[in-house]
Subunit: 126 residues, 2 copies
DNA sequence: CCTATATATGAATAATTATTCATATATAGA
DNA sequence: TCTATATATGAATAATTATTCATATATAGG
């Protein structure tokens, strides 16, 4: 996001009516912000792989790091992000912290995304 | 993504069996990459607002710029991104280029995201 | 209490990316 | 053909972010 400087097609829009009609149906800035934040979580390969893994089973930080062949620090940072966005929850058992998914909304989202991606794959083949 | 330097919890994972089991069910790197690329589209507020607007009606570049109070250049760049990822399609009519959504998968994705975001909102209120 | 290990986290860095600016291309109308 | 306008796009810039490195915290076991 950057500084704002409006420059609107020679100061007049072409289809005034339609634009006004659309404007009325738009989400609030807050909703859009939350939505973009939510989707951003799924835009990172590491986070996607973490979520995907947790879809199968609860795992500790160490397990995830090992599974993804990544550093413990990196995984911890990403888990923090996921935690802060209420997508995963920790369960402490001694030194070990186990993470699991907060709800199964996540599976729905991933599946829908995958569905779309697969369609694109098929179209490329034709 | 950065250079890779593995560091795996003192070189041994804690729950070897579970990790192996999870590993078998993981998506390919390609699929994960495509998935992250797909979700990344929805992680930007401007793109979300463009998609949301096109959900209501087909619009030309100029209309979108006006609607979002953003520069024509900025919108064109984002439309290019959306076009390249097959989320919108252009229709040229003289000088004017009208954009519309490629399919209605997009509505499903947005709705699902919104559903999740709204739930979070409600939880905060309690 | 001391050591080893699991996890968390702040700061720095490298990479990515959204917007701006300048400019190019395309088309309609005079 | 000349001009005005709609759109596209390359390069530069500013902001964001994923990972690393160093280190802190917490806990189990001796």
């Amino acid at each position: 996001m950057r500084r704002l400087k409006i420059e609107v097609c020679e100061d007049q829009l072409i289809h005034r009516d339609v634009v006004h009609q659309v404007k009325d149906k738009m989400l609030s800035y807050d909703a859009i912000f939350d939505l973009s934040t939510f989707f951003q979580v799924f835009s990172d390969e590491t986070r996607l792989r973490i979520l995907e893994a947790l879809l199968v089973s609860e795992l500790c930080v160490c397990d995830i790091a090992s599974l993804l062949s990544m550093s413990q620090s990196s995984i911890s940072h990403q888990l923090r992000t996921l935690r802060e966005l209420s997508l995963v929850k920790p369960r402490k058992e001694g030194k070990v912290v186990y993470y699991s998914l907060m709800d199964d909304h996540i599976k729905k989202i991933l599946d829908l995304g995958l569905e779309h991606v697969m369609e694109d794959e098929n179209e490329k083949e034709r």
